[in-house]
Amino acid sequence: MSQHDTTHAPKATGGGLIGWIVGLLVLVVGMVVAGFVLDAGQVWVVPETQSYVALGGTADAPERWVASASEAGQAAAAAGTVVVASSWETVTELPAGAADRPAAAVMSWNRTIGVWLAAILTLCIMSFLIGDNPFYKTAEALVVGASAAYWMVYSFYTGIVDKLLVNLWPGLVRSWTTPGLADDYHWHWIYIIPLILSIMLVCRLLPSGGWIARWPLAFIIGATAGFRLLAHLESDFLLQIKGTITSLWAVNAADTFAFWPSVSAIVILLSVLACLVYFFFSMEHTGLVGKTARGGILVLMVTFGAAFGLTVMGRITLLTERFDFLFKDWLHLL
């Protein structure tokens, strides 16, 4: 079901290079003009100071924080019982290109630069459609590096801190990232198992003895096998059979024969059976089996066609969203 009539993505040689340079120049000039004419990418924000006071604990370990502006905060300030105070600034972003800005609004340089960066990166990735080029390579290098680090940070805080450390040394986590952790939260010995397995896994880095990493791998794959076997048998096998079982003689609310629902019930049953025959491994697809299997593959093709049609819808929306970003948030054209 495929073709080998391919069009090769041309390399950026001689003429190509000139094309790229001209294109780039046009883009840069366009961007500069857009920057001045359309205020492209400008983000305005309203700054706001958050300030809190602690009413209990010590200066080193303050407790019971309340907003300074709250009743309790003001009362404590008046009574002089504030242990320690802290304040920082947050900002509220205004909609892109909003005409009437409040007086307190200021332009946020870091967010404006951010929108420009985002727009340029969007164009860099899209440039791959013309052919592989230095802009795409740069964007690709950035996304690989930054996203790998992003996931490391995320798994460190959500996996190692919030799952492993919190269950082995709750006190440490309470004083560090999660002061809200209940005081009666105790450690769980069972989490020594993942700790040991993790250490074994990291042994892979050692010049010799890396084979010890096979133990945790065996643990994971064994657990996966057992867990998935049950989960899929229950939800995919039993539930789908159950869902298909219905009366082939359909009736409506008045208890009289309903023609089209009956047809569809029969078609569904026969289609499922035909597809199952298609998946048979121990019978050659000849004779009656072959004909039924062919019916099965036809049903599968309709299934795939329908899924294709529905998916197109989603993919186009994604592109719309990107253009929305470029035209609205960056160029302020809409």
């Binding site: 460190f156 995919d236 078609v267």
Partner: protein, 296 residues
């Protein structure tokens, strides 16, 4: 040999069987889910291996001056900048429940440098990669959707109908086929409201004897209304109207999704479940041990 091969095989078999057995005892039912949860810790720890590999690969590219080594430099820089800012929560703000401790900040906190990288770096990059699919799907439709044989024709024909049925074009293209509204429009203005009310109930599957319009049950309808109700019921409830109405592109799309599509997906799911059972058993029984590497 024993430590390298036999013990791992034993661990996999034991853990696998245990996962299955505990599922049927209420007290241990959740062990499977718990094991999957522990997996998160292992996957996080394994990140060290991935990161180490990423470093080695890119460093060697740079030191060997391989083609494109400059990009390896960009990757490493992006990696370290993101990692350090994120890990040490640089520039993060405290939360209202611990106003002096910036460590309590959520990992991605609005306004923090890590959020900036996420929002203005990662989001546009990944969202644009995803959006490129709209282009590829167009090129695949032009290139690969050829009516070479019956299978391919069915695939593209179904895609064709669903594509049109999902947007207003479907409504517009098959506007000549009847709907309840077009049927109602054929009546004199005075009875339209009545016919519409009966038609909607019939369409919803209400039997004629249970139809109620404006508080009047079918049994109490007289004269013209009685006749109209029967006529509407016969037309809207009849298979001929239902066939024609079902052929409207927007309805046909629903039928395709509800009947053959549902059947095909069910068969695929049943097959997949059996495939998974067999693959899992092969792992647990040690019939397939390729994931364990060699014996020495």
């Amino acid at each position: 040999m024993i430590a390298k091969r036999t013990i791992p095989l034993f661990i996999a078999a034991l853990v696998g069987v245990l996962m299955i057995a505990t599922y049927f005892v209420p007290y241990t039912e959740k062990w499977g889910a718990d094991a999957m949860e522990m997996f998160i810790i292992l996957a996080a720890a394994a990140m060290v291996l991935g990161a180490g590999n990423l470093l080695l690969l890119n460093l060697s590219k740079i030191s060997n001056r391989q083609p494109g080594w400059g990009y390896a430099g960009i990757t490493l820089t992006a990696f370290f900048v993101t990692l350090i800012i994120g890990l040490f929560k640089i520039g993060a703000m405290p939360t209202s429940s611990a106003a002096t401790n910036a460590w309590t900040a959520p990992v991605v906190q609005e306004g923090s440098p890590f959020w900036w990288i996420y929002k203005y770096g990662l989001v546009p990059l990944t969202a644009t990669m995803f959006a490129m699919l709209a282009f590829y799907i167009a090129s695949a439709a032009f290139r690969a959707f050829r009516a070479k044989n019956v299978e391919a024709t069915l695939l593209l024909g179904t895609a064709f109908i669903v594509l049109l049925g999902q947007v207003y074009a479907g409504v517009w293209l098959t506007d000549f086929l009847p709907t309840l509204e077009s049927y109602v429009a054929g009546f004199p203005a005075a009875s339209q409201e009545f016919v519409l009310a009966v038609g909607m109930q019939v369409k919803a599957g209400v039997p004629l004897t249970d139809v109620v319009v404006g508080g009047v049950a079918y049994a109490n309808m007289v004269g013209e209304h009685h006749a109209l109700a029967i006529e509407t019921n016969n037309y809207i409830g009849g298979w001929w109207y239902q066939l024609l109405n079902g052929l409207r592109l927007e309805n046909l799309t629903q039928v395709i999704l509800d009947v053959p599509q549902k059947a095909g997906n069910r068969a695929i799911m049943i097959g997949i479940a059996l495939g998974i059972v067999s693959t899992s058993l092969k792992v647990i029984l040690g019939v397939d041990r390729s994931y364990l590497g060699s014996a020495d």
